[in-house]
Amino acid sequence: MPTTETYYEVMRRQGITRRSFLKFCSLTATALGLAPTFAGKIAHAMETKPRIPVVWLHGLECTCCSESFIRSAHPLVSDVILSMISLDYDDLIMAAAGHQAEAILEEVRHKHAGNYILAVEGNPPLNQDGMSCIIGGRPFVEQLLEMADSCKAVISWGSCASWGCVQAARPNPTRATPVHEVIRDKPVIKVPGCPPIAEVMTGVLTYILTFDRLPELDRQGRPLMFYGQRIHDKCYRRPHFDAGQFVESWDDEGARRGYCLYKVGCKGPTTYNACSTIRWNGGVSFPIQSGHGCIGCSEDGFWDKGSFYQHVTDTHAFGIEANADRTGIAVATGVGAAIAAHAAVSVYKHAQDKKGDDQA
């Protein structure tokens, strides 16, 4: 009888005690709004459940999402692949090729029907009969639809799968099409970015494994926990923005002092992503910290919104929340909305108080 390494075993192997494990289960139950008795059930499930099968397909893309994924520091990607998921198909790293590889898709589709996650990197082109992306002699879109049919849920990795990204920029010569426009009958979780942050990718995946549910999404289909706020909202250079201290030109005194990059085109005020908080590559830095403005790579159609060096002209220093909400395509919810609302209320209250003072 083959033994499968379960989540519990993974956690134990990583040095987590049984006591902590049980505590984790009861916290999970509480977080899920379940009665305390469910803690035992969660513990039981995690002790016995095999690794969830993941099929990772590649359409038109540049593989930056996979490259980002393997940069994950917590969890380490070796632990993800060996112990958390069963990465049954990923043509970037799999040993098999040709029909031995294709056979795996067939097997997963039947053996794990309704239970596997379909992770998609890149997107299907629809022009040229779909043949500008050929897999196994057939259009990629056929493979994608076949595998979507029996999957549990779809993860759209990166801006290609989520929005179309660079090959879908004007005039989109191959008619590269985002995944949710061809898969309409399954839940699609968008994890945009070019690429997405490694720990956001593994975070989304492990969230699903840990809590056994899909993350809460915004209206655009992005996990709120990572895409609920703009880069600007938590940018460490925000005080310079508020103080009116800007980089005016590359390598000027402002650049050397780490001033705000808004005037040289930073798209932080209109970009929903976690770069200014989680940061990149184990928290080492993020674009703004290294002196270049955000290019807005997690936003829909960011390639077609003018030069990366043109500043967002209709974003003003005061009243920026309302303005950015309008220009941003996502609905501001969660903490973002709370802060926006708080700011709005403070301004309103301040105005009221002032009015009151005047009257007094």
């Binding site: 033994t3 095999p50 690794r51 099968p53 893309e61 593989t63 930056c64 999402c65 490259e67 940069r71 380490l76 070796s78 692949i81 060996l82 069963s86 990465l87 049954d88 990923d90 970037l92 799999m94 040993a95 090729a97 040709g98 031995q100 590889a101 629809l126 022009n127 040229q128 009969d129 779909g130 500008s132 992306c133 050929i134 897999i135 057939r138 259009p139 879109v141 660079v166 090959q167 004007r170 005039p171 010569p173 590269a176 690429p195 030109s249 590359w250 390598d251 050397r256 990149w280 590559n281 830095s285 674009p287 703004i288 290294s290 002196g291 270049h292 290019i295 390639w303 030069s307 990366f308």
Partner: protein, 596 residues
């Protein structure tokens, strides 16, 4: 049925056709078809790029200063090299000189890519062609430890360490959920390593997976993120401030120390793990001498890593430059990237059309019209291809030629040219490796030679990172902290029309971008990339490309298992998103597939 190609390779289509699609463990999508004779020896090879994105037409009409970001997305594996090539092309067109510090930082970033990409290729894309994961389960951890300690003083080498990894691997395999190792060619007679060498290599597969993420932090420091760090026309966006107020918002002492420490770790990992593993594995495959292809007769490198800023002459480039043709290593030809007679692309076997397909076009005059048609002898249908007809159009890759010659590019090409030039930085490590393995010079013209050159280059690149980091610090110490030249940042300062070319030596080989700027906007943009050279289909003269040539005459241990085909194709580190993004002005085609 047998023909000899213009570049001297004998092709015979008589035997059984074997199709490998998808070719896995590469970037992007590639198909390969071969004909096998009665002894399972490859007698004809057909390589097909099976994806195409059309970035050049997307670039038309855009701001040239943005082009680096678009072209960087050609490839996320060799991330950054297209961006660097692009800013060089724009700077060439507009006559922009960059500061010395920007040159050092760019070199450090490019070398970081070389070191990282080669390491990941060796362990995660290529190793399973040589290493049998299942065999590692039967290894004696003590013997593995003894082997590891005999070839390197890398500290993680105790019997207990290898036993832990082996146990983890055993549990993984016994779970029945084999993940990426499912349906591999385990137990094939083509695998030659003893169990302990397999266990050592698999262990380092996992170690390298954990370590590689450290190397790229250099990109994160200077470029803000990886993959796809940020670049700038005129220099680099990361300002330097080691003294005053706000230094924490710039490249400061702590940042320089971080980079420095990562460089040390990278050098150590490559020299103590990668290189010893490479030699150990190669020593068991000395008899497997296949895969030379074009490498002994036609290789090319544009050269790269300028020692000083703004000088791209051969003397100033640390990676060698030049072309070798007809197998004559005594003559190295200079390459003129602007000469319309030198670099040309042909499409008579590609899914594009020209007015006159007997002729090639220089990239500045590049035209690309998609034309997806199958030849009369193709088997299957337009959307269900069983076998291609290589006499007709059969690939989304164009066929670039240098003065009519199909060329191999990449680490082996660079090392062959460096060796032929007598440059000790390239000649000495090759001679040492060959002496250690007891092999003659001819042995480098092979699949294994390609793989070995990549390893040697990874080490070379890591040590050069140290050189440029020290140079950067010395320059800062001398009082120069400039990182960008903004004299020509404003498009008002630009001429009405300008054309430029930028090159790099990407991990996979010679990369060139050609740009035409008109009225401040991109008028034409063409990229000719390494895998376009290596993965090229046939041309009007009948020359075959490097992938196809390298597969010929290789015997397969098992006729239905493409292990040897993967081995040789992987030795080029194919990158198909790079190779097949090219696209012209009339790209819109009306046929569309039906979507539910």
């Amino acid at each position: 049925m047998s023909v000899v190609t213009a570049n001297g390779f004998e092709l015979d289509t008589a035997g059984r056709r074997l199709v490998v699609d998808p070719v896995t463990r590469i970037e992007g999508h590639l198909r390969c078809e071969v004909n096998l004779d009665e002894n399972n020896v490859i007698r004809n090879a057909v390589s097909t790029g099976t994806m195409w994105r059309g970035l050049e037409v997307i670039l038309r009409g855009r701001d040239p200063r943005d082009a680096w970001a678009f072209t960087e997305r050609i490839c996320g594996v060799c991330t950054g090299t297209h961006a660097l090539t692009s800013v060089r092309a724009v700077e060439d067109a507009l006559g922009i000189a960059i500061p010395e510090n920007a040159n050092s930082i760019r070199n450090i970033m490019q070398l970081t890519l070389q070191a990282h990409d080669h390491l990941v290729h060796f362990y995660h894309l290529h190793a399973l062609d040589w290493v049998d994961v299942v065999s590692a389960l039967g290894a004696d951890p003590k013997a593995t430890s003894a082997l590891a300690q005999s070839i390197s003083d890398w500290p993680k080498s105790s019997p207990g360490y290898f036993r832990d990894v082996q146990n983890r691997l055993k549990r993984f395999v016994e779970s029945g959920q084999l993940g990426p190792f499912m349906n591999g060619y385990w137990g094939s007679p083509a695998y030659k390593l003893p169990p302990e060498a397999n266990l050592m290599a698999v262990t380092h597969y996992l170690e390298a997976l954990d370590f590689q993420k450290e190397i790229v932090k250099i990109h994160t420091v200077y470029g803000g993120k990886n993959p796809h760090p940020n670049w700038l026309v005129g220099g680099m966006p990361c300002a330097i401030n080691v003294d005053g107020t706000g230094a924490v918002g710039a490249i400061n002492m702590e940042r320089l120390n971080l980079v420095s420490s990562i460089i040390d770790q990278t050098i150590e990992f490559i020299d103590k793990v990668y290189i010893p593993d490479l030699i150990a594995i190669a020593s068991f495959y000395k008899d497997w001498t296949y895969g030379g292809g074009l490498s002994s007769q036609a290789v090319m490198s544009y050269g790269d890593i300028p020692d000083h800023a703004n000088d791209l002459s051969s003397e100033n480039l640390l990676l060698p430059r030049g072309a070798i043709i007809n197998g004559n290593l005594n003559e190295i030809h200079e390459i003129d990237l602007r000469n319309p007679e030198e670099i040309q692309e042909f499409v008579d076997h590609s899914w594009f059309s020209y007015k006159d397909e007997t002729r090639g076009l220089h990239p500045w005059d590049g035209v690309t019209d998609p034309n997806f048609v199958l030849g009369p002898n193709a088997v299957g249908t337009r959307t269900r291809i069983e076998a291609l007809d290589e006499q007709a159009k059969y690939s989304w890759i164009k066929a670039p030629r240098w003065r009519g010659h199909a060329m191999e590019v990449g680490p082996l090409a660079r090392y062959v040219i460096g060796y032929a030039q007598g440059n000790p930085e390239f000649k000495e490590p090759v001679d040492k490796l060959l002496t250690d393995l007891g092999l003659p010079l001819e042995a480098i013209f092979s699949t294994l030679g390609r793989t070995a050159a990549r390893g040697l280059e990874a080490s070379w690149a890591a040590h050069k990172m140290r050189y440029f980091q020290d140079k950067l610090v010395a320059n800062i110490k001398a009082g120069d902290t400039a990182t960008a030249n903004v004299d020509n940042w404003d498009p008002k300062t630009w001429p009405k029309e300008a054309r430029g070319v930028g090159t790099t030596e990407a991990p996979r080989g010679a990369l060139g971008h050609w740009i035409v700027i008109k009225d401040g906007k991109i008028d034409n943009y063409q990229a000719v990339v390494p895998t376009t050279w290596n993965g090229s289909p046939r041309d009007p003269a009948g020359n075959i490309g490097a992938f196809e040539a390298s597969l010929l005459n290789t015997p397969l241990a098992k006729a239905d298992e493409p292990l040897e085909i993967l081995r040789t194709l992987h030795s080029f580190d194919p990158c198909l998103a790079c190779a097949t993004h090219i696209m012209g002005p009339d790209g819109e085609e009306l046929t569309r597939v039906k979507v539910r």
